[in-house]
């Protein structure tokens, strides 16, 4: 008998994986509730919250007015008083409206209270370039949150990671900024039926390699995977480190990979200036300088707002060809 038929692997979409995580955590803990714009009856702009209203009722799944700062603060207040809210901000661009509540409030309470307060809040949002959404709906703003002590920061690239990390985020007692990518929602990937959790702060080697370490996260990971296939054909064996969590950052996995390959390319969709890539680069040079055979290379977005025109939009963020070219430059020190 062919055992492959019996252990057929289940593949689901990124958005469905997130949906499963929410359902499982809401069923497990009645303190978990979700709110956001159009997330209840409509099921969310990207269909992540479909079916939750029917299953858990309007007290735990409800729409908010367009008062991002107000309802994010409400999430924080609820978290301070024993609830475990999941607040959705429709676009990461709109998180600019809630910075006071995230930076001055959520990130500070545990510290300022001498550990008597905890803020178990998950802020789900989505970022990145989509298809012609222009400058106010296409940004990658993770560096802003990365900069703030007191926040965790998670950016999954696959359905498997999305589910396991969202469950961990909901169980975390600190505020977690959970950034999805708008082009990943329809991507399919293997997700087991049985329950699992991925701890925050663990990077994942998406592919082993020996010549080059490529560090990426979120929407850049699928592009790096494509590029690596091309590089393989050209005799360059690249290792892909998908960070998954930016805070906490899995330094050990990064440094171990660098020690093995001695060449590093960091790929970020966000604009190059002041990005997370720059910080990771400095960490590598501080902690593994003697292992490097060439300078750490960063491939980032251009330092410009995102254009509406589709051809120009492609130009401003790294594409597969750019990653292939930058990989060769990193390996051959050009």
């Amino acid at each position: 008998m062919d055992t492959n038929i019996l252990i057929e692997k289940r593949e689901i979409m990124y958005r469905d994986a997130l949906n499963e995580a929410l359902k499982e955590e809401m069923a497990r803990d009645d303190k978990v509730f979700i709110m956001g714009e159009g997330i209840a009856e409509r099921g969310g702009s990207y269909k992540v919250t479909v079916g939750l209203l029917e299953q858990f009722g309007g007290k735990r799944v409800f729409d908010t007015p367009l008062s991002e700062n107000g309802f994010t603060g409400a999430g924080i207040g609820a978290a301070l008083t024993g609830m475990r809210p999941v607040v959705e901000i429709l676009f990461i661009d709109f998180t600019m409206l809630i910075l006071d509540q995230i930076v001055n409030q959520a990130a500070k309470f545990r510290f300022m209270s001498g550990n008597t307060a905890r803020v178990p809040l998950v802020l789900r949002t989505q970022g990145g370039v989509g298809n012609g959404l222009a400058a106010q709906h296409s940004q990658s703003l993770e560096a802003l949150f990365y900069h703030i002590p007191g926040l965790k920061l998670v950016m999954p690239s696959t359905p498997y990671d999305a589910k396991g990390l969202l469950k961990a985020a909901i169980r975390c007692d600190d505020p977690v900024i959970f950034i999805e990518h708008k082009l990943l929602y329809m991507n399919k990937g293997e997700v087991p039926e049985e329950e699992y959790i991925i701890p925050l702060g663990k990077a994942d080697i998406k592919k082993d390699g020996s010549d080059l370490t490529i560090i990426a996260w979120s929407g850049m990971v699928p592009k790096v995977m494509e590029a690596v296939k091309i590089l393989d054909g050209e005799g360059i064996s690249a290792e892909i480190v998908d960070l998954r969590s930016l805070v906490p950052l899995d330094k050990m996995t990064i440094i171990n990979s660098v020690k093995k390959t001695e060449h590093v390319l960091i790929v970020q969709e966000a604009v190059r200036r002041g990005g997370v890539g720059s910080d990771i680069s400095s960490i590598i040079q501080e902690e593994a300088f003697d292992y490097l055979d060439s300078p750490v290379k960063i491939l980032g977005g251009l330092n410009v707002p995102c254009p509406f025109n589709l051809n120009l939009e492609k130009l401003v963020i790294p594409q597969t060809d750019d990653i292939v070219r930058a990989s060769k430059e990193a390996v051959y020190n050009k």
Partner: protein
């Protein structure tokens, strides 16, 4: 006069007197270099925190402001731990990491002072939202300043609380000045309680220096919040007796207003309640005051002798960041 009414009036006066003298003594400690940073006195506004907190149960919640000492003390904070925090000591409410602007006691449902004007209101909405989801018989009072009523956070909170019918009482402490700017110069509608109507929130304006008037109004709204009729808003008219913070002499405060409120002081009004309604003599009142002063003196001694967090303990504390 029933004994419990008399005891109640005494407790109101005791709380107000405690807040007043806590701050006056703390200001001396500030001048002597024991306290650093920002210190926003609540002098002249004591009746509001006292009246509202007296009307609530301790399983309810409060959110406070940058001018928050009065709310903490009225809620029941221990004087020793309060002074210790103001002096930045490890046995303060926040281990000396919060200070005057961030004193909170989450273990006792005091969600704390807040250094960002207006930002406490959304937190209060959240606490009330949690109550509503859990279907518990609790409510939240959110103390907010007149300055914050010109801020989007407050207005969004008013709307959210109303849209979701939350058990939340907004308490505007209208001391008439946002730092140094008169409320008349800050808004086209300086009768701040009228902001409630625009969001469908039943609202009232009252004399915030009369502790009984504050208490009686709050008592009614607290009950109605718990009956599911919230939210409500009460604008308590008051006056900041001093500058915005201890290093602001408040020279912009007009003399006639200062003089008026010297006679309309919450402690004088409280004293009048004690003599006229509770039949206390001047000697009785002096006894109460002496007791409070002795407690304050002990608390200051405690705080001054308390240790600060060591560098080693701090680095351990922040290991996870």
């Amino acid at each position: 006069m029933k004994k419990n009414t008399r005891d109640f009036l005494v407790s109101l006066y005791t709380t107000m007197y405690k807040i007043r003298n806590f701050e006056e003594q703390a200001i001396k400690l500030y001048r002597d270099g024991y306290i650093r940073g920002y210190f926003h006195p609540y002098l002249g506004e004591e009746a509001i925190a006292t009246g509202v907190c007296a009307a609530m149960d301790r399983k309810d919640y409060i959110t406070s402001t940058h001018r928050g000492h009065g709310h903490c003390l009225a809620w029941g904070a221990d004087l020793k731990i309060m002074f210790a925090e103001l002096l930045g000591r490890e046995n303060g409410f926040c281990k000396g990491l919060g200070g005057s602007m961030h004193i909170a006691d989450y273990t006792k449902n005091n969600l704390g002072a807040n250094g960002i004007v207006g930002s406490g209101a959304p937190l209060a909405v959240g606490a009330a939202l949690g109550i509503s989801i859990r279907k518990e018989r609790q409510m939240v009072s959110s103390f907010v300043s007149d300055g914050s009523t010109c801020n989007g956070s407050f207005l969004e909170s008013l709307n959210l609380a109303s849209a979701w019918k939350l058990p939340l009482l907004f308490v505007i402490e209208n001391n008439q000045y946002a730092v140094s700017t008169r409320i008349e110069d800050s808004t086209g509608e300086p009768e701040l309680y009228k902001r409630g109507a625009g969001f469908g929130v039943e609202s009232i304006r009252l004399d915030g220096n009369d502790v009984l008037e504050v208490y009686n109004t709050a008592k009614l709204y607290v009950k109605r919040c718990k009956n599911g009729e919230g939210p409500f808003l009460m604008e308590c008219l008051t006056f900041r007796k001093s500058g915005h913070h201890v290093n602001d002499p408040g020279l912009y405060l007009p003399k006639e207003k200062v003089d008026h409120y010297k006679l309309h002081d919450p402690l004088l009004i409280g004293k009048k309640h004690l003599t006229e309604l509770a039949g206390l003599s001047g000697k009785d009142i002096l006894e109460i005051e002496n007791m409070v002063m002795a407690e304050i003196k002990d608390a200051i001694d405690f705080a001054i002798k308390s240790p600060e967090m060591s560098e080693e303990n701090f680095l351990k504390f922040v290991e996870e960041y």
